[in-house]
């Protein structure tokens, strides 16, 4: 290769670094650094009025480095229980979102090209209004005076069942969780389904597959990458949610998100809050690793 060719290549490489550099540094500083700070904080004692106790100070107070928070986490099963409850709630949210989003995404993908953009717009339109306000709106929809709750209770009355309260229950939390995360499932599914070659379905039908077989043997397996990315986009944020249980849940419906928030803003125990969020990160990474393994086995053809 001549000199100018080499120069061109190094210029291209430089451009690549210049373009990818800023986002890389951004992620490094705002993701890695806080995580490291969290890990360090989890081995400290809480400060008297929040924050962290100094590493070296008056010997009469707690200071220095400790693994007390971790011992504390495992000493009481209640924390593990909240973790399990949160994971189950997120799994339920993910599953319901998947079941609801799939037909919708399929419908959009099969619609004529002109109307697809409008339908996608409708899916993301709720983002145009404030998240908190939308969650408060569910208070009205599910509240004891709401038409929905009254209708439900009068129906239950017909069958001789005692009236129920929808608001401040795990049900209300689940409804709002599904509501809030549904678009994150619809979009990746739609993006995947839209790219399917329609001739594959013709071929399957031609070779003897009925509608049910065409879906389960062709459409669904081919959409698995979309299913996995949609599930990750719903499951991971759902695990950290604290606003929804706080507004719509009852006293017993606390999730990890609430617990962590409580450590920082309520009891002001930063080290324990840090420990909880490290545990959450580990749980998410484990689940992500597991799904990635599952996805890799299915996705060899890609």
């Amino acid at each position: 290769m001549d000199k100018s060719g080499k120069k061109l290549i190094s210029a291209a490489r430089l451009t690549r670094y210049l373009v990818s550099g800023p986002p890389f540094i951004f992620l490094l500083l705002l993701f890695i650094a806080p995580s490291v700070i969290m890990v360090l904080a989890s081995f400290r004692y809480p400060g008297e009025f929040g924050g962290l106790a100094p590493l070296a100070a008056d010997p009469s107070t707690l200071h220095g480095i400790t693994i007390e928070t971790y011992q504390f986490f495992f000493s009481d099963f209640i924390y593990t229980e909240i973790f399990i409850k949160s994971i189950l709630m997120s799994l339920a949210t993910t599953f319901i979102c998947l079941v609801m989003a799939y037909p919708l995404a399929l419908l959009i993908a099969l619609s004529p090209k002109q109307s697809r953009d409008l339908m996608v717009l409708l899916v993301i339109l709720p983002f145009a209004s404030n998240f908190l306000i939308r969650i408060y709106a569910w208070m009205i929809v599910l509240g004891p005076q709401s038409a929905l709750n009254q209708l439900l209770n009068s129906m239950l009355h017909l069958f001789g069942i005692a009236p129920v309260q929808l608001l401040f229950s795990p049900f209300a939390v689940l409804v709002a969780m599904v509501y809030a995360h549904l678009p994150f499932m619809v979009l990746p599914l739609y993006t995947n389904l839209e790219k399917h070659d329609p001739y594959l379905l013709d071929a399957a039908q031609d070779l003897g597959a009925n509608a049910w077989q065409r879906f389960w043997r062709v459409t669904f397996p081919l959409s698995l990458p979309g299913v996995f990315s949609g599930s990750a986009l719903v499951f991971i944020p759902a695990l950290g949610v604290f606003v929804i249980p706080e507004i719509l849940g009852g006293t017993g419906d606390m999730l990890i998100g609430n617990l962590i928030k409580e450590q920082f803003l309520g009891t002001r125990d930063w080290p324990f809050g840090s420990t909880l969020s490290i545990m959450l990160t580990i749980a998410v990474l484990l689940i992500a690793w597991f799904t990635a393994k599952l996805g890799a086995r299915r996705g060899r053809y890609v």
Binding site: D197, L200, D202, Q205, G208
Partner: protein, 361 residues
């Protein structure tokens, strides 16, 4: 009774008549080709046979039974799509056995047929590969094996060679002929490539604007096109406007303005005074410097206008009196002599009295 009968089938798409009153009979074991330019209705017709589209009028009968109420998955025929439509998430084996799985074929039988099919299309070594790991030719063979494995009555092939490069296509043509002969299944092949159609088919239906122009064996179609469209679409042909002077049982005499008289084989329904077209294939036209073509009944003087060297043959365009252009094709049988004549050379062209033909219109 023919295996597949297409009776007066019409299909309209909006105002456009895609298929216009088409009737065809296709015999069992035949390699039948629907040939036509794009938009001629051949693919629409194929999709109606497969069941993806339904005729607005007319009937499609398989072994005497109307297919109208049979959905595509229940029709005893398979399609090989232009893009092959192999399932990307399935291996070669899973693709090929897909139809057997759908018909709940017992595992013993499936294994046996799979082995046969893999050997038949020479893919034994690629059994566990995914479609994206295969070459174009291999993909095509997988699609064929998949279409043939549960022994359909008919195999429909939709431009199935179009995605292959020219060299490979020729090889695949030979394979396809052999395969069809071995399995004995009726093939209905759709193509716009006339050389492919001539090479592969037992019979060809030439389609144009939704209608069938002519159904014949390849050699008849090439040698005796029924009208100007077929003559022009199949191969190359010289066409000269002419008027009938005299029509006898043995020949017709034609007058070409500015050129003179041409004698051509007889055409039963040609009558004196009729305006039409005289057509002759370039390879039937002789070309020479001296008087050799002059011994022929039809001969004219002209000058070489241009030439196209194509390796195996050279095509000369000769300008005759009154601007009439004639193409003559000469094989380059002697090595190294690419050009027998130069542009501007005065030459004579001629052809036998029984070559060429008069066409109506």
């Amino acid at each position: 009774m023919a295996q597949l009968e297409i009776k007066n089938v019409t299909r309209r798409i909006g105002d456009f008549v895609a298929v216009n009153d088409v009737s065809l009979n296709i015999e069992a074991g035949e390699f039948f080709t629907l040939l036509g330019p794009s938009g001629s209705g051949k693919t629409t017709l194929l999709r109606m046979i497969a069941g993806f589209d339904l005729p607005d009028a007319g009937q499609i009968l398989l072994n005497g039974k109307d297919l109208a109420d049979t959905s595509p998955e229940k029709r005893p025929l398979h399609t090989v799509f232009q893009s092959y439509a192999l399932f990307p998430h399935m291996t070669v084996v899973e693709n090929i056995t897909f139809p057997l799985k759908m018909s709940r074929c017992p595992p013993e039988e499936t294994r046996k047929r799979l082995q046969e099919a893999l050997e038949q299309v020479r893919l034994t070594g690629k059994a566990e590969k995914y479609p994206h790991e295969l070459s174009g030719g291999e993909k095509q063979r997988v699609a064929l094996a998949r279409g043939l494995i549960n022994r359909p009555r008919l195999l429909l092939l939709d431009e199935s060679l179009a995605a292959l490069d020219a060299k490979l296509r020729e090889e695949v043509q030979v394979e396809l002929i052999n395969l069809q002969r071995d399995v004995g299944i009726t093939f209905i092949f759709v193509t716009h490539a006339q050389t492919e159609a001539l090479a592969l088919s037992h019979r060809i239906a030439v389609m144009n604007q939704g209608r069938v122009e002519q159904v014949d064996e390849p050699s008849k179609l090439y040698g005796f096109p029924r009208n100007r469209f077929v003559a022009d679409f199949i191969g190359h042909i010289n066409m000269i406007a002419a008027q009938v002077i005299e029509s006898t049982h043995s020949h017709v005499r034609l007058a070409v303005p500015g050129l003179g008289e041409i004698t051509a084989p007889s055409l039963p329904d040609a009558s004196a005074g009729e305006q039409g077209t005289f057509s002759i294939r370039p390879e039937q036209v002789r070309i020479g410097m001296h008087d050799e073509p002059a011994e022929l009944k039809n001969h004219f003087a002209g000058t070489v206008h241009s030439l196209l060297y194509q390796g195996d043959v050279s095509v000369y365009r000769v300008k005759l009196a009154d601007g009439v252009m004639i193409e003559a094709l000469l094989p380059n049988s002697t090595p190294g002599r690419a050009e027998l004549f130069e542009v501007g050379d005065a030459v004579k062209v001629g052809w036998r009295h029984d070559a060429g033909m008069f066409l109506h219109g």
